[in-house]
């Protein structure tokens, strides 16, 4: 993967995205850029659940002509990865919710910060904490697109987390083993010494 596109969908908080881009670059050392794309999320809204279907969103992103036009590098498999960031609550049909979803070893991932907000749990808002949680979940989903599986290391960002406490407990970095696995299949990741173009 030579490039990561961050795609805001459903009008997410731009300040959060502004914090996310350098964090992804810092961790993966793959150029990251925010690209706007006029994709509506309404078709993926499930009225009965009041949530958006993440699997359907991922499928749609892969087939949408606007994506192919605006994110040309995605057309060549292995050249770029796409991370959609949404403010809405996501689900996959069998589960009550997901923080995000990714194509394992593929090109697209989607992450939501809806359930990462403290307010959802009756706690006072904490922007810094929210930003950190989003960075972790974004890197986690991008890790899956780069072929990584869940990691048993407590501090590794690839550790599976199904609640915010678990997200807070894990680190924002990939552990040495995950980093090594990632570099085997994607040698350009994690190289130091240059700035995000």
């Amino acid at each position: 993967v030579k490039f990561i596109y961050v795609l805001p969908l459903g009008n997410p908080d731009r300040k959060l995205l502004a914090g996310l881009v350098p964090a992804v670059w810092e961790s993966l050392r793959i150029p990251v850029e925010v690209r706007e794309c006029p994709i509506e999320l309404d078709p993926f809204y499930d009225e009965g659940r009041g949530q958006y279907d993440s699997t359907a969103i991922l499928q749609h992103l892969k087939q949408h002509p606007a994506i192919a036009q605006r994110l040309p590098l995605l057309n060549t498999r292995g050249n770029a990865a796409l991370l959609a960031v949404v403010p809405h609550d996501l689900f996959i049909p069998i589960l009550t919710f997901v923080f995000g979803e990714a194509e394992l070893g593929g090109t697209a991932a989607v992450v939501s910060y809806h359930r990462l907000e403290n307010e959802r749990y009756g706690l006072p808002a904490d922007r810094e904490l929210l930003s950190r949680r989003l960075q972790k979940e974004a890197l986690h989903e991008l890790g899956h697109t780069l072929g990584l599986l869940h990691c048993p290391e407590q501090a590794c960002v690839m550790r599976s987390s199904t609640n915010v406490d678990e997200i807070d407990l894990k680190g924002v970095e990939f552990c040495a083993e995950c980093r090594s696995d990632m570099q085997k299949s994607h040698p350009r990741t994690g190289r130091r010494g240059s700035a995000n173009p």
Binding site: P93, I94, L95, T96, F97, V98, L149, H150, T162
Partner: protein
């Protein structure tokens, strides 16, 4: 847990559910597949090994409960978690009664799902580990290689079962190589002390001072070279069993110390002043005639009576004619497996030679002979030439005393090794000190 080795099978008629769940578990590194109905699931069950199944209760044709019933008939150990569209106490109770591990309702809380699966798999791992350990304990408690159907061996094994649960001191008598240590292990593992250590001391292999230090331990600086405090075997056997092999070779001074510690269960480390308590059972073994040693004053009478509470006499292999072939086949299988060789059987000539041999080194000699034969055998059948026993010597040894046979066998091995004591001791599977004792006993010297 090596998740890659753990298989999860998702059974649901809805494609989206199958895809979602297989993807969910695959991301965690599990080997995951799905089946769209009960019949497909049963086919997958035959084709691969699965640890856990997530089964939708409502499917066309065979429903989840029936599938659960069928799977449990085939594989009791598979964890089955039932997925149901709505919580129904009746269905849940029915599923649990049929052997389901748990049930979950759609849509599933991912937090609950992950923890439920992880906990179920951990329990399964523990259960499997428990079965493995039970098998190991069972093998040990039945004596492992204490194999035999001859009346002498059956009697000996019956005595083992009788004496094991009691805390009595046991004396095991028998020639070298008859399996005295195996019997000691069998007694220990069938005793209430089984979960504490079995500590073996080879009394014949040590000098007086070394044995004292080995038994009772020593304090730092107790003698030259004692740089650290060291616990002795008596202390290490606390709660368990102390097995004194070749007890007849203990010197008189250590006999006195040993008697005291057996009676009081208290002792001091060499060079120390602290009184140490140790609760242990004593099993001892010897191939010496201890009664004769007592009469000659070489062995303390009081210690002899303290040790000789319950005696188990192990027969020599030549007295267990019907066991020889079975033991030989057992060792063949053991070493062929260990060496990963395709050796399966003995030729009739080889088996005849085995049965005709006297086996003065008893089971140990037979085991060594078969091990060697497996090493040199290139095919699937051990021939007579592969065995280190080439001559039928039963006639040669007929009417000879055991000591004579032992002397002649040791002499033969010493000659074969050019009187290299270390090599001869290795072949005879005894330590060098014991071999020196025996050479001295039989007056065996190079150049005679």
């Amino acid at each position: 847990m090596n998740k890659n080795a753990v298989g999860i099978l998702v059974v649901d008629d809805e494609l989206i559910v199958r895809d979602s769940l297989t993807k969910w578990f695959r991301e965690s590194g599990f080997r995951t597949e799905s089946a769209e109905n009960g019949a497909a699931a049963l086919n997958k069950l035959q084709a691969a090994s699965w640890n856990l199944m997530l089964v939708d209760i409502k499917m066309p044709g065979m429903d989840g409960i029936e599938l659960l019933h069928r799977v449990k008939e085939l594989r009791k150990d598979i964890i089955i978690i039932i997925i149901t569209a709505f919580a129904s106490v009746d269905t849940a109770v029915k599923a649990l009664k049929e052997g389901a591990h748990d049930y979950i309702t759609k849509p599933i809380d991912p937090d609950y799902l992950d923890h439920l699966v992880e906990k179920a798999l951990s329990q399964q791992e523990l259960a499997m580990e428990n079965i493995k350990l039970k098998n190991v304990v069972s093998e040990l408690s039945t004596g492992g290689e204490l194999i035999g159907e001859s009346p002498e061996m059956v009697t000996a094994m019956e005595l083992v079962r009788t004496v094991a649960p009691a805390d009595t001191t046991v004396m095991i008598l028998g020639e070298s190589g008859t399996g005295k240590e195996l019997v000691a292990r069998a007694i220990h593992t069938q005793s209430p002390r089984a979960y504490f250590p079995l500590v073996t001391v080879n009394c014949g292999a040590m000098t007086e001072t070394l044995l004292e230090s080995e038994l009772f331990g020593h304090e730092r600086g107790a003698f030259t070279g004692a740089q650290y405090r060291r616990k002795g075997k008596v202390e290490l056997a606390d709660g368990g069993t102390l097995f004194l092999d070749e007890v007849g070779n203990i010197d008189v001074k250590t006999q006195m110390d040993l008697l005291r510690v057996i009676e009081t269960k208290q002792f001091m480390r060499v060079g120390g002043s602290e009184i140490i308590h140790s609760d242990f059972r004593v099993i001892c073994a010897t191939n010496r005639d201890l009664e004769k040693a007592v009469r000659e004053g070489a062995f303390r009478e009081d210690l002899y009576y303290r040790l000789n509470v319950f005696t188990i006499q192990l027969p020599p292999l030549r007295a267990r004619g019907i066991d020889i072939a079975r033991l030989a086949r057992h060792f063949l299988e053991k070493y062929a497996t260990a060496m990963n060789k395709p050796v399966r059987t003995f030729s009739p000539e080889a088996m005849y030679a085995i049965k005709a041999h006297d086996w003065p080194g008893n089971v140990r000699e037979l085991e060594n002979a078969v091990e060697r034969a497996v090493v040199v055998c290139k095919g699937t059948t051990i021939e007579k030439e592969h065995l280190p026993v080439q001559t039928v010597n039963s006639q040669r040894n007929q009417g000879r005393r055991l000591d004579d046979v032992e002397r002649s066998y040791i002499e033969q091995i010493l000659q074969e090794t050019g009187w290299n004591v270390s090599r001869a001791a290795t072949i005879l599977d005894i330590d060098r000190v014991t071999l020196y004792h025996k050479m001295e006993k039989y007056g065996l010297k190079r150049g005679q």
